[in-house]
């Protein structure tokens, strides 16, 4: 109806045009370049006053660690945070987009956002893209109906749980949770359990590493503890400095001339212009 003069990026999302070609190419052995995955151990648990989320901070690109201290706990709303595993670009874009939608919703309703709202917006988007948006999320927050914790899988299915883990290190972290979780944990007990679970992922899974991020959400209050624990400190330089000898030692000097004179070969016919 009206011509938009505002330049916003094209809406309409993923274009599936090239998928068939890509499939055909990979069958012939030409694989697309690998993208940055977060590998990851992400966890969440519900304690007596709210929700605690935890994540490691390693981002991998195949066998290479491309970010030693990335942020995997994303802001969704003042009372809702979301940990993301899978393709880093997907988790960031999807949480950013839903965070924006929640903000608009808050303006229209004049109320605090609910965790189920964020959950439904996320799962609708992921289901729409049939799993091509590879984001596995642990969503946690406290709203007027109480504390909530959900996991969301890339194809769009969700779980509601008292404690959850996702990512390549999820089994290591789940082992810690299954043995030590109980209802009615205090904040300190909850934080130390989350830290143990993430550390279990960091030390036993190749895709997870570096530091531990924790986020504690209670009614009306949140604490984002970035780099709460640094179990892998990097010693960069030796404090004494390194001293190398100034130059290599000369042991022997010998000069051998290659040829006494230069031979001239008779020039051929000049090139024709």
């Amino acid at each position: 109806m009206s011509n938009s003069t505002v330049d916003v990026p094209l809406q309409g999302g993923f274009s599936f045009d090239l998928c068939r070609r890509n499939d055909m190419l990979s069958k012939k052995g030409v694989n697309p370049p690998s993208y940055r995955k977060t590998g990851t151990t992400i966890v969440g648990l519900i304690f007596q006053d709210g929700v605690i989320l935890g994540a490691d901070t390693r981002a991998t690109e195949g066998p290479i660690v491309c970010d030693k201290n990335c942020e995997k706990i994303h802001y969704m709303a003042p009372n809702i945070y979301c940990c993301g595993a899978g393709t880093a670009a997907d988790t960031e874009a999807v949480t950013d987009m839903v965070s924006s939608q929640l903000q608009l919703h808050r303006y229209h309703t004049g109320r605090e956002s609910r965790v189920v709202t964020a959950l439904t917006l996320l799962k609708k988007h992921l289901f729409n893209y049939q799993g091509y948006v590879q984001a596995a999320l642990v969503l946690g927050g406290v709203d007027c109906t109480g504390p909530h914790l959900h996991t969301i899988y890339p194809h769009g299915s969700t779980d509601t749980l008292p404690f959850a883990t996702m990512g390549s290190g999820s089994l290591a972290a789940m082992a810690m949770f299954e043995s030590k979780y109980k209802e009615g944990l205090t904040k300190d007990e909850g934080i130390s359990l989350v830290v143990e679970a993430i550390c279990s992922g960091i030390f036993n899974d190749l895709g997870s590493g570096s530091n531990v991020d924790v986020c504690v959400i209670t009614k009306g209050h949140k604490e984002y503890l970035r780099n709460h624990l640094l179990p892998n400190p990097r010693t960069y330089i030796s404090s004494k400095g390194y001293s190398f000898p100034k130059k290599t030692e000369v042991l022997l000097t010998k000069i051998t001339p290659l040829k006494e004179k230069v031979e001239i070969i008779e020039a051929g016919e000049a090139m024709e212009e």
């Binding site: 109806m1 009206s2 011509n3 003069t5 505002v6 916003v8 990026p9 950013d96 987009m97 924006s100 903000q103 608009l104 303006y107 229209h108």
Partner: protein, 235 residues
């Protein structure tokens, strides 16, 4: 949109070069309830009458002053439903700007985009211009700012402005009372006095609405309790 019968613009030029529909829109604004805004040295205040059609209307459900972003607020004179639509569009544009540039939208940009929307509705098929004038109050890196946007899509920055029923009296009053170095509290008092000038009946916290933004860059609507305090100070 664009049925064959209405695919032409309803806003067409008159022989004298005027857009009559916009003039009529301005008349609609001029018969709306008075609203005004004052830019102080350390903030902006916007205020409006809140005359309800009957005492049976629940006045807490009516909110004429709305916030577009945490640091930008807006008030109107004219048709309430048109205002609602504009607020919705502006909020969305502010969010899109933030998504794209990861910075809070500057006041001038938001005003320009809102004005663009209003202008589109004077040049598109099958639509009529908006019957509201807006007063946008914001505080960003450039300091406190107050803009007025008209149904034609033109916008101006004002130190103090009024719109609606009592506009000429209110503007004269403001011209006399305005000083460049006013503080936010003084501006609120001046705003209340200006509203009082043309007010029919007894002014109270139930029939006016005031929104302020100070150096903390957070726009908020004053509670009835706070308005009562200011009214008491003015007496």
């Amino acid at each position: 949109m664009g049925d064959s019968q209405y695919s032409f613009s309803l806003t067409t030029f008159s022989p004298s070069g005027k857009l009559v529909q916009i003039e009529h829109a301005l008349t609609a604004v001029g018969s709306g309830q008075t609203s005004l805004g004052i830019k102080a040295a350390n903030g902006v205040v916007i205020a409006t009458e809140k005359k309800l059609p009957s005492i049976l209307v629940d006045e807490t459900s009516v909110q004429k002053i709305q916030s577009l972003t945490p640091n930008i607020g807006v008030v109107y004179s004219g048709m309430g439903p048109d205002f609602r639509v504009l607020v919705r569009k502006s909020r969305k544009q502010a969010e899109q700007y933030h998504r794209l540039y990861k910075e809070p939208i500057p006041v001038t940009q938001l005003v320009r985009e809102t004005a663009t929307v209003m202008q589109e509705f004077t040049q598109s098929g099958g639509v009529r211009p908006f019957g509201v004038s807006l007063l946008v109050a914001g505080f960003d890196d450039k300091g406190p700012q107050l803009y007025q946007v008209d149904p034609s899509g033109s916008y101006f920055s004002w130190k103090a402005s009024a719109m609606g029923k009592n506009v000429s009296n209110a503007k004269t009053f403001l011209e006399k009372r305005y000083t460049d170095d006013m503080e936010l509290d003084d501006a609120v008092h001046t705003a209340i006095l200006t509203l009082k000038e043309g007010f029919e009946g007894q002014i109270s916290s139930k029939n006016i609405e005031i929104g302020i933004i100070g150096a903390d860059k957070k726009f908020r609507v004053l509670t009835p309790g706070e308005i009562d305090d200011y009214l008491a100070e003015v007496e």
